[in-house]
Each structure stands twice: as structure tokens, then as C-alpha cells.
């Protein structure tokens, strides 16, 4: 009796030891490259912390500076908001339409899915270069408009309001295939019996999609919306490469602001503070979405 308990104890101890061995690379890495930086980031955000040179504690000055005397911060916040509000609904709606369109009756839909997925996986820089070329004043869009319809289009990347629309358009095109695959996977899992029952009840076409398919895949739509919104708030490469944040600061989102403060102006403290504000915004918005999900997300159990 005592022997077995004792044995069990040593067995458990050895298992615990071995578990620690298995987990230690991850634990060390996580401590070194996530937990330490997160702690450091908090510290940096309350310091005047230049890339090189002396650091001085300055309390909430960085945060105050951002909100009161940093000329680009509010515009960056606004740009991130505008981008997110345009990008998320467009991207979700279009990828949903596409996923439903690529239903089981479409021949070659496997190949089509791959095609829609290509811009997701090739380097963003390459995608942006292609769009930049097309959006030049002498480029494809304006060229076609002029020679087909005799209309001169605005200079997309130099016009403050058009520049943001083009950043959004390019991003929607680039990211469409990703959510499409999430939705396709969800649609694929719909039980045949439910769809059949619905069609026997007379639901077809739009009605079937709106009242049966969409509610049933609403957990996936919820998931995709949250992830898409988070990535939208973190947008960087598209505006940085397409417009350089311009004209002026019309397309400079928060992450680009952070990057500029930190690595162009060498003010790491201010950049860290701005990053925390971005994080807070992400948390709040995600929280709101979770609170709102009861209203529209439908779970089986």
C-alpha cells in the first residue's frame, strides 16, 4: 500500500520533471521574447527613451504628448478608425458572397479557391507594387478610363480622400481569399439534412442563404470579424508602401505612426506609449464584440 503510493509519487514527480524539460524551450523563449519586452514596454512608455543616449523618467508625459501636442497622433487614430470601418465590413461581406458563390455545384472551385488565395500568401510588397503601378496617373485604371470613356480619373494616390480608399481597396483584394477559406470551411460543414429540410420548407435562393446558412455559420463570421478587425487596426505595410502615409498624413495609420516615432525620430518611449494605446483600443473593441455576440451569433449547444 505505502509502496504503491510512494511509487506513484515518484512517478508523478518524474513526469513533472520531464514535463518541465519539454516545456522549457517555450517557457524560456516566451519569457525572453514576450514577457520581458511587454514589461520593458510599459517601463519605456513612462520614460523619455531615445534610441541612443540618456533615459529620464517622465511619468505620463508621453501619453499626454500624444494626446495634446503630437500633430500626427489624432490623424493616425482617425486613419486607423476609417480604415477599419471601411475594410472590415467590405472584406467580410465580399468574402462571404464569394464563399457562398463557390458552392458545391461550381466546377473547378478548388482551383478557384487557390486563385483567390494567392494574394494572401505572396509578399505584400509585391502586391502593393502591382497596385501602385496600376494607380499611377498614367497607369491602367486612368488609361482605361480615358481611352474607353474619355474620363480623366483623379490622381488616386495624391488625393487625400482617394488615397485611403485605394489603400482599403488594395487591402480588400489582398485579404479576400483568407476569410473566404474560413467561410468555405464552415459552409462545407453544414449538415446536409438541415439544408434539405429548409428547402423542403420552401427556403431557396436568398432566403436560404440569409435565414439558414448565415445564422448557422455565424460563429465563423464572428471569429473572422474579430480577427479581421484586429489585423485592420494593425495595418502597416499597405499604406507605408502604397502612399508612404500621404498625401500629408492622410493614410498614416497608428502602426505607421508608432514605427515613425520609434525608428525615424528615435523616440522609443513615445512609440511604446502609442503602442499601448493601440493595444487598449484593440482590447476594448474585441470586448465590445464579445458582448455583442449574444445578439447575433448562433451556437449549436
Amino acid at each position: 500500500m505505502t509502496i504503491t503510493t510512494k511509487r506513484r509519487g515518484s512517478l508523478a514527480r518524474s513526469e513533472a520533471r520531464q514535463a518541465l524539460g519539454f516545456a522549457s524551450p517555450a517557457l524560456v523563449g516566451l519569457a525572453l521574447f514576450t514577457i520581458v519586452p511587454v514589461g520593458l514596454s510599459i517601463v519605456m512608455s513612462v520614460y523619455d527613451w531615445p534610441t541612443f543616449g540618456d533615459r529620464t523618467f517622465n511619468g505620463v508625459d508621453n501619453y499626454a504628448t500624444l494626446f495634446t501636442s503630437s500633430p500626427d497622433f489624432w490623424p493616425a487614430l482617425r486613419n486607423s478608425a476609417v480604415y477599419t470601418l471601411l475594410y472590415v465590413p467590405l472584406s467580410i461581406a465580399l468574402s462571404l458572397v464569394l464563399a457562398i458563390g463557390l458552392g458545391p455545384r461550381i466546377r473547378g472551385r478548388g482551383a478557384l479557391r487557390v486563385l483567390f488565395f494567392i494574394p494572401v500568401v505572396v509578399p505584400m510588397v509585391a502586391n502593393v507594387l502591382v497596385w501602385k503601378m496600376m494607380l499611377q496617373p498614367q497607369g491602367l485604371f486612368n488609361g482605361l478610363a480615358q481611352s474607353w470613356f474619355g474620363v480623366t480619373l483623379p490622381n488616386f494616390l495624391a488625393d487625400p480622400s482617394w488615397a485611403m480608399i485605394m489603400v482599403v481597396a488594395m487591402s480588400v483584394w489582398q485579404g479576400l481569399g483568407y476569410n473566404m477559406l474560413i467561410f468555405s470551411a464552415a459552409l462545407e460543414q453544414l449538415p446536409e439534412s438541415v439544408l434539405e429540410a429548409a428547402s423542403i420548407d420552401g427556403a431557396r435562393g436568398f432566403r436560404l442563404i440569409w435565414s439558414v446558412m448565415i445564422p448557422m455559420i455565424s460563429p465563423s463570421i464572428f471569429f473572422a470579424t474579430i480577427m479581421t478587425m484586429i489585423t485592420a487596426l494593425q495595418v502597416f505595410a499597405q499604406p507605408q508602401l502604397l502612399t508612404g502615409g500621404g498625401p500629408g498624413n492622410a493614410t498614416k495609420p497608428l502602426v505607421m505612426f508608432i514605427w515613425e516615432q520609434g525608428f525615424t525620430f528615435g523616440d522609443l518611449g513615445l512609440a511604446a506609449a502609442a503602442a499601448w494605446i493601440l493595444f487598449a483600443i484593440i482590447i476594448v473593441i474585441t470586448g465590445v464584440q464579445f458582448a455583442a455576440q449574444r445578439k447575433w451569433v448562433h451556437y449549436e449547444h
Partner: protein
């Protein structure tokens, strides 16, 4: 409380999708073989036309970019626009490599992506095993800590991470490109979820046969998890291959240490008005991942279904 169940359900729901192995277009396509009325046939044809038109519009920029890469530079913005130039200058693709250190960029990207993937796979499978199948005190608390770190966006981390790299003296080194973002909790989470789905009787049987955790892990759990490991590998590779912000920050000497995205961006700055070369370079950089996607499409679909992870 209610929020917790919410995310669990969402994750559960998405994870459940993997239980079925893959899309089976042929099988579900059987429905199409049922006798059809004329109206249905017409609707089906219209659906095909719409979908294929959408696909054409969608892919048009890439087709246009490809043919632009073959034009002489003077004809890039000819009026009216043409798809194909007066001649096909395949030499543009070769000229890219003379204009910039493109092989270096490709080599760097390849090295960083492969090394990063290896690190991620080792770390994620071992930690996933410890969290998913071994019993130890404090396991669940530590795991929650792991998951909590998933919420910290990379943008918050890059600023202090750059400082840490300076302290280590790692700025402008390969290890700075590889290690900092190789320890995210995501892979661990994914592998843990997968490992927990494997029947625990297997471990017990192995233990009765006298094998310890290491052998159980290497000879039973890992071989049963090939598909999950493959999915994680593909997505990790893609995210390293396409990553832009961090390499932009942590490398200084792009000609020597630039990865493909950073190299491509600086290349477009160098070539200025040579749009033909920029397009050729863009097309070249698209080739490897496009091939990867075509070859591994089933794994990609599975990976997306698994948890919506990806190379973003």
C-alpha cells in the same frame, strides 16, 4: 464568464472542422448529378459565369503585372493601355538580378523562414506535449499565461524588442530575424489542442510497455500528428517569408541581410522609374509562395479551418 464560453465555442467550432479530413469537392459534387430541370440548368450556368467573371476580375492585376514585366519600359504607360507590349522582353527577369542583390534576398528569406519554422516546430510540439498530455503542478496556470500573451500585438512588442536586440548586440543579425517571433504561444496552443485529441489509452499502453514520455512523444504522438505539424509548418514558413515590419526594423544593411519583402521594397526605391524591373521583381517574389500554395492547398485549407491562422 459568458465571454469565456464565447471564445471557447468559436475556437471549438473552428477546430471541429478539422475532424473531417479535407474538402471533398468531388463527393459533394454528386448532388449536381441529380436530375435537373431546365430552370436549374440555366441558373447553374449563370452561377458559373458570375463566379468565373469574378475570378477573372480578381486575378486581372496579377495577369497585367506579369505582362507588364515583359514590356519594354517605354511602353509601361502607353496610351491606350495594352496588355502585351510590342515585344516580350524575357530579359527583364534576368536584369532584376543584375540590378539588385536579389539572390541574396531570396537566400536570406529562405534561410530565415526555414530556420524559423524548425524552431517553431520544435518549441511548439514539445511544449504542446507538456501542456496537453503530461500532468504537472501549475500546468493550467502557466498555459493561461501562454494564451494571454497571444493578445499582445506584434506592434506593441517591436519597440521593446528592438531595445532588447540592441542589448544583446543582435541588431542586423540573422538570429534577430529568426528568434524573437519564433516563440509565440500560437503553435503551442495549436499542438496542444491537437495532441489532446489523441486517445490517452495510447500513452498508458506505452507506459505499460515501459516507455517514458520522451519515447512516447517521439514514437507515438509525433507520428500521429503529421498533418497538424505540416499545417503549422506551412503557415509558419509563410509568415516568416512574408514578414515585413520586423525585418524592416531590425536589419540595417539590406544589401547583405535584407529578406525578400524588405529587399523588394528597397529595390523599388532604387529603380525609381524602371517599372518593368519592379514588376519583374514582384512577379519573381510571388513565384515560390504561389507554388507552395498550389502544391499544399489541402493543408492550407485545413490550417485555416483549424484556427484561422495564417501568414499575415
Amino acid at each position: 464568464m459568458s465571454t469565456d464560453t464565447g471564445i471557447d465555442d468559436a475556437v471549438e467550432q473552428t477546430l471541429l472542422m478539422t475532424s473531417e479530413d479535407e474538402f471533398v469537392p468531388e463527393e459533394t459534387g454528386r448532388r449536381a448529378k441529380a436530375p435537373r430541370t431546365r430552370g436549374e440548368t440555366i441558373r447553374l450556368i449563370i452561377a458559373h459565369v458570375c463566379v468565373y467573371l469574378a475570378a477573372l476580375v480578381f486575378i486581372a492585376p496579377l495577369i497585367y503585372a506579369f505582362f507588364s514585366a515583359l514590356k519594354p519600359n517605354e511602353e509601361m504607360f502607353s496610351m491606350p493601355p495594352t496588355l502585351v507590349g510590342s515585344q516580350l522582353k524575357w530579359g527583364n527577369f534576368a536584369e532584376v538580378f543584375e540590378y539588385g542583390p536579389f539572390w541574396t534576398y531570396i537566400g536570406n528569406s529562405l534561410f530565415v523562414a526555414v530556420a524559423g519554422t524548425v524552431v517553431v516546430l520544435i518549441v511548439s510540439t514539445t511544449a504542446g506535449y507538456a501542456f496537453g498530455r503530461l500532468r504537472w503542478k501549475g500546468r493550467d496556470a502557466v498555459f493561461v499565461l501562454f494564451l494571454a500573451t497571444l493578445m499582445v500585438p506584434a506592434e506593441v512588442l517591436v519597440i521593446p524588442m528592438f531595445q532588447v536586440m540592441q542589448w544583446f548586440g543582435w541588431v542586423n543579425t540573422y538570429q534577430a530575424l529568426i528568434l524573437p517571433f519564433a516563440f509565440t504561444a500560437f503553435g503551442t496552443f495549436l499542438m496542444r489542442q491537437f495532441f489532446r485529441g489523441i486517445p490517452f489509452e495510447l500513452d498508458e499502453a506505452a507506459r505499460v510497455d515501459g516507455s517514458g514520455p520522451v519515447r512516447t512523444f517521439l514514437q507515438i504522438i509525433l507520428p500521429l500528428s503529421k498533418s497538424a505539424v505540416a499545417v503549422l509548418a506551412v503557415f509558419t514558413f509563410l509568415s516568416f517569408w512574408n514578414s515585413y515590419l520586423w525585418p524592416l526594423i531590425v536589419t540595417v544593411d539590406y544589401a547583405q541581410l535584407g529578406t525578400l519583402p524588405v529587399g523588394l521594397a528597397s529595390f523599388s526605391g532604387l529603380t525609381g522609374t524602371r517599372w518593368d524591373l519592379q514588376m519583374a521583381a514582384a512577379i519573381i517574389s510571388m513565384i515560390p509562395t504561389t507554388i507552395l500554395v498550389i502544391v499544399l492547398q489541402k493543408h492550407l485549407v485545413k490550417g485555416i479551418a483549424m484556427a484561422g491562422l495564417g501568414g499575415r
